[in-house]
């Protein structure tokens, strides 16, 4: 189908974008890569009066690692995230998003704002306990991953707010595993695992409205122990901790079984991946 009519504003700066969103009341929408929003419009699931195109705002496509944190601009495309070597977990996860022609346009902030529960990057943000920088009519604020994701396709952002940057702490070791029906499809279940010091954070995508942070209790304090036994126990704990629903793509039991398998794979991956000592260019 064709998109419903809308007005179009090409923002020249973050302030200009926020002004345009404010002028539109609750009828404005940011247009970034368009890889989720344009399908939504074409299927007429939304009818915003104004699209505020942020693609030409300068200075929002940077990637810089400082003090163990990757600072990424809102407009970093999935292809660029997949290509960088400063945050290997984010790079690996980005490679799983759709296809090259989707990754060439889709943006990091767009994926986080869209908040699809099966999307890769929201899971990575939560696994790394990352945060987003947000600009709005009353200034800027910072939202942690735990605060940003509210429900399926729902974020804590107001209609007049824009993500300008993303902070992704670089884990000491990382792992990622995903099961999708076909190459490039959204995950049925994905698992991002990140070790910071002695603690492992395991986040499961596709099993709840938001990326699910596994509560593994004391087991998550690995203290250098990622032996096969510990990994088996953690995977069982992850499967126990999720409460998936059944849908077209799989029953609750199937998703639970996948959670266990993907956690096993992600942790095996993690055991082989240590953080680079040097901060690579």
């Amino acid at each position: 189908m064709k998109c419903p009519p809308f007005d179009y504003h090409r923002a020249t700066s973050v302030a200009d974008a926020v002004d345009a969103l404010q002028a539109a009341g609750d009828e404005g929408k940011i247009l970034a890569g368009g890889q989720s929003l344009v399908p939504v419009l074409a299927l007429r699931l939304a009818r915003p009066a104004v699209l505020v195109d942020v693609n030409r705002i300068p200075g929002l496509a940077g990637l810089e690692r400082r003090d163990g944190v990757l600072h990424a601009g809102a407009l970093v495309r999935h292809l660029a995230l997949a290509d960088q070597r400063q945050h290997p977990l984010a790079a690996e996860a980005a490679r799983w998003i759709g296809h090259t022609a989707i990754r060439s346009r889709g943006t990091l902030a767009g994926s986080l704002a869209h908040a699809d529960p099966a999307a890769e990057l929201p899971a990575v943000l939560r696994a790394c306990d990352g945060a987003v920088q947000v600009a709005g009519p009353s200034g800027t604020r910072r939202l942690r991953a735990d605060e940003l994701f509210v429900g399926a396709l729902q974020s804590a952002l107001a209609d007049t707010e824009m993500i300008t940057g993303v902070e992704l702490p670089v884990p000491d070791a990382w792992g990622f595993a995903e099961f999708a029906r076909r190459h490039g499809d959204f995950a049925v279940v994905s698992v991002a695992a990140a070790r910071f010091g002695e603690r492992v954070r395991i986040v499961v995508g596709g099993v709840a409205g938001v990326p699910h942070l596994v509560d593994a209790g004391d087991l998550a304090t690995v203290d250098g122990d990622v032996s096969d036994d510990r990994v088996t126990l953690l995977a069982a704990a992850a499967a126990d901790d999720v409460d998936p629903a059944s849908d077209l793509h799989g029953s609750a039991g199937y998703r639970r079984a996948l959670t266990e398998q993907m956690t096993l794979r992600a942790l095996a991956d993690l055991a082989g991946h240590l953080r680079p000592v040097r901060e690579p260019a």
């Binding site: 009519p5 890889q35 296809h99 090259t100 022609a101 076909r182």
Partner: protein, 159 residues
């Protein structure tokens, strides 16, 4: 809204509604119907073109977003005298097409693949072409065609 787009090297000035997608502007405003349109929501790949050298879904990009950009479509592949592009020849030879609905998107995806990776293995070809859906061929002929075009190019460059 008034925009300027360069398509296959030729500059065009257009006046388009903001909601017009790039693929509709190419087909309906410029008469370049080589680029096909299937699903109109990013899934089938039929509309794939190159914008400033990168593959994009022309059904997910607004024409106003392509203002000032350079677009390459299937019409630009063959030479002015009608000589087929090596990929087009390979598709023909290897039975990489039947009805042709998916072919323009397949070709543009393959052009970009061989530009970035001149010697991809079959696994890479399969992975990179997997975003384009074909209802006819069963894909084997398509993978054969891309592999053959790559092989010929590598051979002709080293001989």
């Amino acid at each position: 809204m008034k925009i300027t787009v360069t398509v296959n090297g030729e500059r065009h000035r257009l006046d388009v509604e903001p909601r017009r997608t790039l693929v509709d502007a190419l087909r309906d405003d410029l008469g370049l119907t080589g680029t096909h349109v299937g699903c109109e929501h990013g899934v089938c790949g039929a509309c794939t073109v190159l914008v400033d050298g990168e593959p994009v879904r022309a059904c997910l990009m607004l024409a106003v977003q392509a203002d000032g950009a350079s677009v390459a479509t299937v019409e630009g592949l063959a030479g002015d005298d009608g000589t087929l592009h090596p990929l087009q020849e390979a598709f023909s030879r290897c039975h990489g097409l039947q009805c042709g609905a998916c072919t323009p998107g397949m070709l543009m995806t393959a052009v970009h693949l061989l530009d970035t990776d001149p010697d991809p293995g079959r696994e890479t070809i399969r992975a990179e072409m997997s975003g384009n859906i074909c209802r006819c061929t069963g894909y084997t002929g398509i993978v054969d065609a891309v592999a053959e075009a790559a092989r010929r190019r590598v051979t002709s460059e080293t001989s």
